[in-house]
Symmetry: C2
Subunit: 329 residues, 2 copies
Amino acid sequence: MAVTIRDVARDAGVSASTVCRALSSPELVKAETRERVRRSASALGYSPNKAARGLITGRTGNLGLIVPDLANPFFPGVVKGIQARARELDYAVFVADTDEVPTAEAELVQALAKQVDGIVLCSPRMSESALRPLAEQTPTVLLNRRVSRIPSVTFDNLDGMRQAVAHLTALGHRRVAYVGGPRSSWSNRERLRGLRTAAAANRLELVEVGNVLPQFTGGIAAADLVLAADVTAVVAYNDLIALGLLSRFRARDVDVPGHISVIGIDDIAMSAMVHPPLTTVSSPVEQSGRAGVDLLLDLMENPDRTATARRELDTHLTVRGSTGPLHRP
Amino acid sequence: MAVTIRDVARDAGVSASTVCRALSSPELVKAETRERVRRSASALGYSPNKAARGLITGRTGNLGLIVPDLANPFFPGVVKGIQARARELDYAVFVADTDEVPTAEAELVQALAKQVDGIVLCSPRMSESALRPLAEQTPTVLLNRRVSRIPSVTFDNLDGMRQAVAHLTALGHRRVAYVGGPRSSWSNRERLRGLRTAAAANRLELVEVGNVLPQFTGGIAAADLVLAADVTAVVAYNDLIALGLLSRFRARDVDVPGHISVIGIDDIAMSAMVHPPLTTVSSPVEQSGRAGVDLLLDLMENPDRTATARRELDTHLTVRGSTGPLHRP
DNA sequence: CCACATTCCGCAAACGTTTTCATTCTTGAT
DNA sequence: ATCAAGAATGAAAACGTTTGCGGAATGTGG
């Protein structure tokens, strides 16, 4: 039915081997025949059968991507970045969503592993001990998390937190709350760490307010705790939580930023659309996806130099309307 | 390296053919040997090589999904639905994003076609004449659009609009604006049609306000036109546009719903998170994804009965804070 | 005990490509 | 003219599975 390499071979008057070489190792065949083969191939509309190629080379030409929750607006950005870069390099991408269930992750990786040449894992919650065997079995790059001997691309959370604290300090705030995300999340620990050192450096009081789901409802739940903590500003683990805070503050008639300033993290699209628009620590999500693919392909070619493969991307504070100067009571 | 069907055959003391049959056509082999084979298979951790199978069967076990923009919160829902259903049926899903560029759609379909057994095409802007040859070439199911002789799953836009108009009428509104989405979009035409008939039935004046991008910025742009149109309520092509309207209204100090009522369509998560929360026509997005997969598999098995394969899902109005009774000036 | 249908299973071909190995052809040095 | 080295190509094996065909074993009715 479809046109095979033999059809091209016949048309070009050469053997199948030569067609194959002309198309995938051009330097091995004389320029003249190479051209003839190429013309025949495109004339017949030949495109190599992936299954046959995969059978013999053992590679699929596919990449896997695992994210905790596509509905979290943070992830479509990285999906887009990964898609775009993968397409440029002639890879197709399987996307899987774990619905924030950490146990589903390992299962999915297992299932995907056989169908892909490598995996980009956006999986902050799985334990390191579960992670490492998976990474040894299939080339794996971690996003948003660092684990020894596994390549990763992360954001510079520490510097992001430093910028946030500097901003709040400049506005006169002296006592600030942090609404934590999932306790088991690597980036949550990292952000907290960054906040602590920055707070110490600026002689700022840091109040840690529980750990909530990294979602809008988590912010709703935390809002009252924040108000009870008697702070003048609050940093949230991510924008969704920050938006929840904003919503609940409004419901309780707490003025932002008049009475309390709010800072989120991630800079999801939504954050610029609400009122007041959210001040937030922006991360180059799309770029992180692209970087992830590059690291992964690099890893697939040189399976050894894993430890060195690590990229940390810069973050920057985007100041909008949810932060303002401290009004002394 | 990996364990093959022959290893299992040797372990179970049968031929490769029998192993194959025991696993994929159980009724063809005696219960006793079937069990023996199965035990050997799972003991050795055998899993069939997809490439080899694909080479001989001509099928990949993969589905393709094409969406216009993953960043539009409407789509992650359908992606999730499709993923979930596909996984249940042992299919993996390639996801591709066209970035709202209609010409990219055809290209992507072509590229995907060879790697998948079927395609779910979401909200295509592509012309019917471009669509049909693609659908003939690869099993294709349309989401959010109906084209003759191509299976599709759609939402009952007409009834959704009827409900919206009934709601506004009950609140006393007599003159309503519609902010249209892309002119080439099937659902935009459908919604407009539903609105027109419902408006006529309720003796309501309908003012059509341009066509904008189905995004937040589109709503921003349309807001001033809406105000100039001297209406007391507005229906937007989708929630993102409605949120843009809300944002611009606030900026111009126009009270919602006091001065004007706003209705969106889709019920994306964000719509419940803003202030005032958005009244909107909810669609069962996740269910639409699942239905799409079911239709697609059905189509793959019976490539003929395309015309009958068509599902229309119910919508319902979710009333929140952005609509209210008409205050006579 | 035979004829025959039925069930179960093994053999071998086939899928379309890549790759090893051998062969032929070209080239340049002796 | 001869030979070696290297370039260019073809033949054939290999990848792991599915499946048509036929043979063996088993069961059934006469």
